[in-house]
């Protein structure tokens, strides 16, 4: 039974269809919301809101426009962005991305130092993603972390595939700039400056 059939059954009142659909899709929605917001509380709220929306307005799903998964991610995106706007208004000075601490524990690695370094690197990447503007963050989350195709991403974001590609390219450049050590950046910029001076 595919997602669309489950959705139809759920709308017809089948509770088990809801449970099955939830078990299939909640992980992706939760992770997407978590990667976009950096907050487990927001991720939980968004996941709940998405499935409540599906119960209420699931008939809005159009199979011609994409899969149920893409539909749910699109709904989740709207809820996340709305929630982030509210959070931004409520706590303008807060650096709330760290409020929940590290989102995952380091893996059990035989070498503690390597384990620590790896966890530190991943945490840096996560913070760098969270610091991106929303329009770049969402393409990184969808294409790089959620492994959604460019076409589906374009459908979720409501833009052209070319836009997705260009945003992803720009997002990666921004991430590289953020993750590079400060001294390396300074050295690069110094080289450029001197070259300009002697040109």
């Amino acid at each position: 039974m595919d997602d669309a059939q489950l959705l139809r059954s759920m709308l017809a009142g089948d509770e088990e269809a809801l449970a099955l659909l939830y078990q299939r899709r909640q992980g992706a929605i939760y992770r997407f919301a978590l990667q976009m917001s950096g907050s487990t509380a927001i991720a939980e709220d968004v996941t709940q809101e998405v499935f409540l929306f599906l119960m209420r307005d699931g008939h809005l799903f159009d199979p011609a426009k994409g899969s149920v998964s893409a539909f749910l991610l699109g709904v989740a995106r709207n809820y996340v962005l709305r929630r982030l706007r509210v959070e931004q208004l409520l706590s303008p000075l807060g650096d709330d991305t760290d409020e929940d601490g590290p989102l995952f524990q380091a893996t059990t690695d035989p070498c503690p130092l390597e384990d620590l370094t790896r966890a530190e690197t991943i945490e840096s990447v996560r913070k760098a993603i969270l610091s991106l503007p929303a329009k770049y963050r969402e393409v990184v989350v969808l294409c790089e972390l959620q492994d959604v195709s460019y076409e589906e991403t374009a459908g979720i974001l409501g833009c052209a595939i070319g836009t997705v590609r260009s945003r992803l390219h720009r997002a990666r450049a921004l991430l590289l700039a953020k993750l590079r050590p400060a001294d390396v950046e300074d050295a690069d910029s110094a080289t450029v400056k001197s070259a300009r001076c002697f040109a």
């Binding site: 509770e15 991720a43 409540l52 972390l145």
Partner: protein, 208 residues
């Protein structure tokens, strides 16, 4: 990490690592329980709402049907009154001149509109005569076609005007080439004279 330079390849690797690390994350189990409860509650609310909606629907339909019937009755009465009023106005003699003089022909004036220009029928379900004034005469009386007077042509009849009911000596029939019953030669005959907008008599028809 700070010691090594981040390049595209490393970024891709680290992003994959992050995705793999987060792969196991999922919403807490109690969320499913809450959603199931919400689903059951919603199902009950929806079924109740449907019942209320259906009963409301029947009430609304009944009220609408009654209103429709009442409006139809009012419309039919109004139309029948609208048709009767001009007929009464025509049949009542004018109060200023209750009895016509014997020397002058008696007159009744009605508006004439040429039948070649039909009125727009607003309600096609109720068929009304195109010219109710003329039709009243037609239904109660037998009349000849309008005969254009000698100095007018048939085309001038299309301009409209007023019909004046007159009584003429029966001998006048002969002037228009109509047969005259000699037994009733002294009697008078009714005729409708069509006066144009210029005040001239354009045509005449004889009525029995």
């Amino acid at each position: 990490m700070n010691s090594e330079k981040f390049d595209e390849e490393m970024l891709t690797r680290e992003l994959r690592s992050l995705a793999a690390e987060m792969e196991q994350l999922s919403a807490p189990p109690e969320l499913e329980t809450k959603l199931r409860e919400a689903f059951r509650a919603r199902r009950v609310v929806v079924s109740l709402a449907r019942r209320q909606t259906s009963s409301r629907y029947w009430w609304a339909a009944a009220v609408a049907a009654m209103l429709l019937i009442a409006l139809s009755v009012i419309a039919i009465r109004w139309r029948s009154e609208g048709v009767n009023e001009p007929r009464q106005a025509q049949t009542q003699p004018a109060p200023e001149n209750p009895q016509p003089l014997k020397n002058e022909p008696s007159r009744e004036v009605v508006k004439y509109r040429p039948q070649s220009k039909p009125h727009r029928v607003l309600n096609r379900s109720v068929r009304r005569p195109q010219n109710s004034e003329v039709a009243n005469h037609v239904t109660r009386e037998v009349a000849t076609d309008f005969i254009p007077l000698s100095y007018m042509n048939v085309a001038s009849l299309q301009d409209g005007g007023q019909i004046v009911r007159v009584e003429l000596p029966r001998s006048a029939l002969a002037n228009f080439g109509l047969p005259v019953n000699m037994d009733r030669y002294n009697e008078k005959v009714k005729a409708d004279v069509l006066l144009g907008v210029d005040g001239l008599a354009h045509a005449i028809r004889f009525v029995q």
